[in-house]
């Protein structure tokens, strides 16, 4: 496989590229889904090909082909350079690359049980069984469950001498139950909405204990139909860790992408409220806010050996005791900003241009427990499991909806409430963080559906978090 990547790189250089790299990627994906006690789909997908990136002046050119032949690889290499050259019609300052170690290495995701080796019947019975259990609860209209697995081989070659083979294994899934009322639906999910994913094998799925949670999930969905609507007003907000993970994703993870800060994503995803001039001084949140982007956390979804530019995985401080100190970057953006490259550039398959993507962007744990946080709260709402998310094009104004909430009164969980929502402004919200649970409740949540770029790329990101409390948040936005 290295030969195809090398052929593509050599062709790109021969056509005039200042730098080129290529990835041969073979990716297998399996998805199994069930609904209401019946199998809904079993899907196997495999894509294979070579993608080559060529740098000429101020533009990357990229070409991809699904033909794994020497001829096709060379053609793609030449096309990548020709495409980059055409960009000179609308030029900018020349792109340069920050230095990184030139690695020749192999890396494999530690895993105990390759998910593709687990009998299909076992996987099918798991998702069919839990949906049967959930659907058996009176009031549940739709119960779904799914499992998803990726097995990816990547061979990376650069014109600077990189030669890296990685074998990555990812596993995850989840289930949800929807109670259908006359005028509304209510849903509960487990482990989190859209499923939870990690790097690793089928042992990840076994740890979820989907069967042990099916009945509770369904019963809570039904109870929500009759629950009171979440109260409105400013009050203390306690977030369960998977919701806090998504809060990190939207209001920190995307905001700290250096390509976004530099305006490279302005038209589609937007820019960032962050200004590089404030790096090292901007107050992002309270002193409890310590965020790292760490691609080395065992088992987290964005853990790998090297990114798609051949930069070794590393941990980078992003927010230290509330102060903004770091960004997500690649070799080009880091050079432009005069920073160290972060090893955070990845692509969605062989046919997409690598771009800055979140690694495991998460909160370091605090101390104590969720129970202690609730006991310490006079009046507020505890919200769990994301239902909706929306944030503006500078990553400032957000509104989240959760599946379920409970009122907190005098240190105790009170009545269940439905349609809980909260809204805020990013730095103001994070400044109100005053409690964060400890390492025992810290979970490396994985999000498998992060959209970015044009053409759209789906990224897999990790967001470790433990439950936390935010003071005086606007809760219960009315539609």
């Amino acid at each position: 496989m290295y030969d195809y990547a090398r052929a593509a790189v050599e062709a790109a250089l021969a056509a005039g590229a200042a730098y080129a790299d290529a990835r041969v990627v073979i990716r297998r994906h399996e998805r199994i889904a069930a609904q209401n006690g019946e199998l809904e789909s079993v899907t196997h997908a495999e894509d294979a090909g070579v993608g080559v990136r060529a740098l000429v002046g101020s533009s990357w050119g990229f070409a991809a082909t699904g033909e794994l032949t020497d001829v096709a690889a060379k053609k793609a290499g030449a096309e990548a350079t020709a495409t980059a050259k055409a960009s000179a019609l609308v030029p900018g300052s020349a792109i340069e690359l920050a230095d990184v170690p030139i690695a020749q290495d192999v890396y494999e995701t530690p895993h105990a049980e390759n998910p593709f080796d687990v009998p299909l019947a076992e996987k099918v019975e798991l998702v069919v069984g839990v949906t049967r259990t959930m659907h058996g609860v009176e009031g549940i209209g739709v119960a779904t469950a799914h499992l998803g697995f990726w097995d990816t081989d990547k061979w990376f070659v650069s014109s600077q001498g990189h030669r890296i083979h990685q074998h990555l294994v990812e596993a995850g899934g989840g289930m949800d139950a929807t109670a259908v009322g006359e005028q509304e639906t209510q849903r509960r999910s487990y482990p989190q909405s859209f499923g939870h994913y990690e790097t690793g094998g089928f042992e990840v799925i076994r740890r979820f204990d989907l069967p042990g949670n099916a009945l509770r999930v369904a019963e809570e969905a039904v109870q929500l139909l009759d629950a009171d609507v979440c109260p409105s007003g400013e009050m203390d907000l306690v977030l369960e860790s998977s919701q806090l993970a998504l809060q990190i994703h939207e209001s920190v993870g995307h905001a700290i992408e250096l390509d976004r800060i530099l305006g490279w994503e302005a038209a589609f995803a937007g820019t960032s409220f962050l200004d590089l001039q404030q790096l090292g001084s901007l107050r992002y949140g309270s002193e409890l806010m310590n965020i790292t982007a760490d691609a080395t956390i065992p088992g987290a979804l964005s853990t790998f050996g090297y990114d798609d530019e051949g930069t070794p995985a590393k941990a980078v401080d992003i927010v230290r005791e509330g102060t903004w100190v770091g960004v997500l970057s690649g070799r080009d953006t880091a050079h432009l900003a005069g920073l160290e490259p972060g090893g955070m550039v990845r692509a969605d398959g062989f046919n997409r241009l690598p771009m800055v993507r979140m690694t495991n962007v998460g909160l370091k744990p605090g101390e104590g427990t969720l129970d202690q946080i609730i006991a310490d709260t006079k009046h507020g709402v505890y919200m769990a499991t994301n239902r909706s998310w929306s944030i503006d094009d500078r990553r400032l104004n957000f509104q989240f909806g959760c599946e379920i909430g409970w009122e907190i009164v005098d240190g105790k969980l009170g009545r269940m409430v439905k349609n809980p929502t909260y809204t805020g402004i990013t730095p103001r919200f994070w400044a109100s963080l005053d409690r964060l649970a400890g390492p025992d409740e810290w979970v490396p949540w994985g999000v498998p559906n992060c959209g970015k770029g044009q053409p759209m790329q789906v990224g897999h990101t990790g967001h470790p978090a433990s439950p936390g409390r935010f003071r005086n948040v606007r809760v219960g936005v009315k539609g």
């Binding site: 073979i26 889904a33 019946e38 199998l39 809904e40 789909s41 079993v42 899907t43 196997h44 997908a45 495999e46 894509d47 090909g49 101020s58 533009s59 990357w60 990229f62 070409a63 991809a64 082909t65 699904g66 033909e67 794994l68 096309e79 495409t83 055409a86 960009s87 019609l89 609308v90 030029p91 900018g92 390759n114 299909l120 019947a121 069919v128 209209g141 739709v142 799914h146 081989d153 259908v180 509304e184 639906t185 305006g263 490279w264 994503e265 302005a266 038209a267 937007g270 046919n351 997409r352 241009l353 909706s388 929306s390 503006d392 400032l396 104004n397 509104q399 044009q454 936005v477 539609g479």
Partner: protein, 466 residues
């Protein structure tokens, strides 16, 4: 290390529709020749597609990313005595396809019977090929770059960002039940913004012909919106009358299609749609219309069924849902040719939606608005509840206060929380523009044709400052 390395892949032969049809037919033959097919009732749907897509992306007024791909994929759905499995691959070597077929048949045979399997797609005439422009399919990088330059150059004092892309799709379908179809389509889009230090304005054009795009005109519109927004005030949240531009209307139609007219959502009780009921203002007629002369669509869907034109809403009354063959079987209906990839889980959705335009010129839509807002575009919309279709999102790229029929100035972006169904309900639609065109409702180009729309009330729940 456990990994998989395929053998050397031999030269592909897939170049045009004949090649694609031959490949689809060959996959069907291989399925039928499988040993498993001798012992069981084996059915198959095969969809072979080739996509040539190139996208020129610009930011800070220069091209920074310029990408292209040309890939062939094979999608296979099989049923073994009613037990189903689906597979896809980009590896079209015959030995790879044989391996895929055997693995997929084996996978299917292990499953429980699929109660909603409607059988392999039967023969049905596919009337016409899609809109296809060879010059767009063969567009060179320089042609895209020239148009980007035109977009950028109209406002040298502003910062431009966006993309211009060209896409050609060729597809062929074959089934064991005898359906065969081919189709092809092209699309070209320019979508971008111009930015001042405090604002942005956007513009969008999509056609099946690259030659139709006037990137300079698009750039001019975007720059004008950006300049007019440079000085803005923050408005208090509240309920305002609104004039929505085609992009904002496109977002609404996309959500109505995905969450409401999706027959699977309806079967599961999660859709707002009530067939035969007047849920919308009488001025509203929404069509799924792949036959529109402007339509960018293959003439058949993901299951090989001909795509039909039909009303979703007629003068305010919900008339039809979008069906694939699975939901049609469950509902006792006919497929509307609305199958999409992943549809067994997600359902069927209309993908050539259009809101029938009115007769009011866009400028006249604001002419007698006493106090309201002109919204160019929505951003990051998400559903709070599918059944009521309450959605939250923000405005973007040009939001203006209208007072006494005139634009009174720009306002900062606002957050809304609003039921899209209620917003279009009886008595809520004041006027519909005559400016219908392809518009991107933040979920991709070439899906919705929408005009501007004046609505009586829209619930804004916050501003950029909270």
């Amino acid at each position: 290390m456990t990994s998989h390395e395929p053998q050397q892949i031999t030269e592909h032969v897939v170049r045009d529709l004949d090649d694609l049809q031959a490949l689809a037919d060959r996959v069907v033959e291989l399925v039928q020749a499988s040993p498993r097919a001798q012992a069981a009732n084996v059915e198959a749907n095969v969809l072979v597609g080739r996509t040539r897509h190139a996208l020129t992306r610009f930011a800070n007024s220069f091209i920074h990313q310029h990408v292209g791909e040309d890939t062939v994929s094979v999608g296979l759905t099989v049923a073994v005595d009613g037990r189903t499995a689906t597979a896809g691959t980009t590896d079209t070597r015959e030995e790879a396809l044989r391996t895929l077929i055997e693995a997929t048949l084996e996978s299917a045979a292990l499953q429980p019977v699929d109660p909603h399997w409607p059988g392999a797609t039967p023969p049905a005439d596919v009337a016409a090929s899609g809109n296809f422009d060879p010059d767009t399919a063969d567009a060179r990088p320089e042609q895209r770059a020239e148009r980007v330059k035109a977009f950028v150059d109209v406002a040298a004092d502003l910062r431009a960002a966006g993309y211009l892309d060209t896409e050609a799709t060729w597809a062929a379908f074959a089934s064991t039940a005898g359906q065969r179809a081919v189709g092809r389509a092209t699309r070209a889009t320019v979508d971008g913004i111009h930015q001042t230090d405090t604002s942005a304005g956007s513009a969008h054009q999509t056609s099946h012909r690259l030659a139709d795009l006037d990137a300079a005109a698009a750039g001019t519109v975007a720059a004008d919106r950006a300049r007019r927004s440079a000085e803005f005030v923050d408005l208090d949240p509240g309920v305002y009358e609104v004039v929505l531009g085609p992009e904002a209307v496109s977002t609404m139609l996309t959500f109505l299609g995905v969450y409401g007219f999706n027959a699977k959502m309806h079967l599961e009780g999660a859709s707002f749609a009530k067939l035969g009921e007047a849920q919308f203002d009488p001025a509203i007629t929404i069509l799924e219309d792949p036959a529109d002369p402007r339509a960018i669509a293959l003439p058949f869907d993901n299951e090989g069924s001909p795509r039909r034109s039909f009303p979703l809403v007629e003068a305010g009354v919900v008339r039809n849902l979008a069906h694939d063959r699975r939901t049609a079987k469950r509902a006792g209906a006919e497929t509307t040719g609305s199958a999409v990839p992943g549809g067994s889980e997600f359902g069927a959705v209309p993908t050539t939606i259009k809101l029938v335009p009115g007769t009011t010129a866009p400028d006249d839509l604001v002419a007698d608005v006493e106090r309201g807002l002109l919204v160019t575009q929505f951003h990051y919309c998400r559903v709070l509840d599918p059944k009521t279709l309450v959605v939250t999102g923000l405005t973007r790229n040009g939001t203006f206060l209208v007072e006494n029929g005139k634009l009174a100035g720009a306002v900062g972006n606002l957050r809304f929380t609003q039921s899209f169904v209620q917003a279009l309900g009886a008595g809520q639609v004041v006027a519909i523009g005559d400016d219908d065109r392809y518009a991107d409702g933040e979920f991709g180009a070439g899906v919705v044709i929408a005009p501007s729309l004046r609505l009586r009330a829209w619930n804004f729940t916050g501003g950029a400052k909270g």
